[in-house]
Assembly symmetry: C2
Homo-oligomer: 144 residues x 2
DNA sequence: GGAGTTACGCACTTTGAGGTGCCTACTTCC
DNA sequence: GGAAGTAGGCACCTCAAAGTGCGTAACTCC
């Protein structure tokens, strides 16, 4: 028997996750940005493409344009992720009934503010991830 | 046939993910903090418990202590996550050969600096997630 | 008149993160 | 001498996120 049974843990969780677990806004935010393509879509829509080095000016993009920039994304996941972002008020979807229908996506003000935070992550990553990789190498070398 | 076949996309990805996809440090960082328990462990180790409202002073904690605070975590996941964080140089594991062996975990300097960034996320969440929830409600209401 | 484009929808399948249960060695307490 | 606590290891299972394939409506171009 483990220190506490699974049933006990579940029961406790139901009572005490009120402020620190599951339902709290921070967890929800993490769940959002953890989606595989969310960060990339936000980055693309704020013009942080690979070659461009844009100043981060928010920019409207077409579905096909996004699909080209996010190399490897499936059409299903792109649509699904964009819908989720639209639902959360982070992007706006605009349909223009042209010859073949044109759909553009653009960051909202809320989306832009979130992207600012994501930049903080990016900066930390650029500053410290190499250090993390060194640690990983050392750790793995010690194991072998 | 979709606009590009899956095989084509894979081939392109292999050539062009150098700076914007997969291997880039930002993605790696996201993968780390997306682990279900990472954020909570970092928070606990920097004394951001639910009732305490600690000032964020980094604090060494025992395995069992963490297990109690992170309501609902399984022993396997706690061990697994702690090992990953140790491997990345974000926490230090200290074994003291007392009566029953005592193991403590503590944030490294690197871990503390990451936790700072996580606080940025937390602050955005506290400031804007309610707005997101409103958007969700509106969106869902329109659908029905 | 058939091929191509845009922006998807739908159904099926796969993959891996996470969960669960069962096990340990050592010691101390009652 | 059996129960309990500490810090895990190991093997199996589940389920949801992500991927794959195929279809579509409307129109246009050649």
């Amino acid at each position: 028997m483990p220190t506490t049974t699974a049933a006990q843990q579940r029961a406790e969780a139901k009572l005490s996750y009120n402020a620190f677990l599951e339902g709290c806004p921070s967890r929800q935010l993490l769940a959002r940005i953890s989606d595989k393509w969310v960060a990339l879509i936000l980055a693309a829509l704020s013009d942080e493409g690979p070659g461009t080095e844009g100043g981060g000016e928010p920019r409207a993009m077409r579905y096909s344009e996004l699909s080209r920039q996010l190399t490897g994304v499936s059409q299903k996941m792109l649509t699904q992720t964009l819908r989720a972002l639209e639902r959360d008020g982070l992007v706006i979807r605009t349909v223009t009934p042209t010859v073949p229908v044109t759909v553009t996506y653009e960051l909202t003000e809320l989306g832009v503010s979130l992207q600012q935070v994501m930049r903080g992550l990016k900066q930390w990553a650029e500053a410290h991830m190499d250090e993390v990789f060194v640690h990983r190498g050392d750790y793995d070398a010690r194991e072998a």
